[in-house]
């Protein structure tokens, strides 16, 4: 669906019902926001791509090799207060989701990060692998995200450090697609 209407002004009512209007920006309209395609996007570079980098847990040349790649693909969304950075694109895709479906990583109430660290340290010990603190943290972050997905959360929130940004694990069909750019005769 491609529309040009402005966002509704009933955000307060939606919040009372625990609903979020999440916005995803891109440089072209998309019928589906697919997290599997996020990391293949040419605009995603450097450190962000590193999240998905596989780690060999077994020593070099040892067979069978064990490759660990715990990061679950996610798409990134802002809420109505999110101010998009330049270059994200002029098409905004809106999806309404229940706020309770997002796991707040800055609280980590169920200690997914600690569980993930323990799993990784056990795996490293099993394979005789020495991990740097950087590697442990990167793998644990990805694994903790994966646990949140396994537990049935729609995605993640980060209320303390990035309160207006959310992620979603599954492909999302937007409720609305709007073009924010100028048309030729404007």
């Amino acid at each position: 669906m491609l529309g040009s209407g402005r966002r509704g002004s009933q955000a307060g009512q939606r919040l009372l019902r625990g609903l979020l209007d999440l916005l995803h920006y891109s440089d072209e309209p998309r019928e589906v926001i697919d997290p599997q395609k996020h990391l293949t996007n040419k605009n995603i570079r450097g450190a962000e791509r590193d999240l998905n980098y596989p780690t060999r847990m077994t020593p070099f040349r040892e067979e069978p090799e064990v490759i660990y790649q715990p990061y679950p693909a996610q798409s990134y969304w802002g809420d109505e207060n999110y101010i998009p950075e330049a270059g994200l694109g002029d098409y905004v895709h809106t999806s309404r989701q229940p706020e309770e479906g997002f796991y707040d990583v800055s609280e980590d109430m169920d200690k997914f990060y600690m569980i993930a660290r323990e799993e990784i340290m056990d795996m490293a010990k099993t394979h005789g692998k020495q991990l740097s603190p950087q590697e442990v943290h990167r793998l644990a972050t990805g694994r903790a995200m994966g646990i949140a997905k396994e537990q049935g959360y729609l995605g993640l929130s980060n209320r303390k450090f990035r309160p207006n940004v959310y992620t979603q694990f599954e492909a999302v069909v937007p409720d609305l697609i709007e073009y924010l750019g100028k048309v030729d005769n404007e």
């Binding site: 980590d108 990060y113 660290r117 340290m121 992620t167």
Partner: protein, 55 residues
């Protein structure tokens, strides 16, 4: 207790900061070519798995 520095995105920072096992201090925000924010942080860790890491 161990102490080290690492680079993390904002989600990793949040996960780690959520737990008393870690005292995380942001040293600097790193340049990023994506909307995600990245930080170099100093970590003081009191968890037992610190013994299995390279320092």
């Amino acid at each position: 207790m161990s102490e080290y520095e690492l680079e993390t995105d904002e989600f990793g920072l949040a996960f780690m900061s959520a737990h008393d096992d870690f005292t995380v201090t942001i040293l600097e925000e790193l340049n990023s070519d994506t909307p995600m924010k990245y930080y170099r942080v100093k970590v003081k860790e009191v968890t037992q798995d610190a013994d299995n890491q390279l320092h």
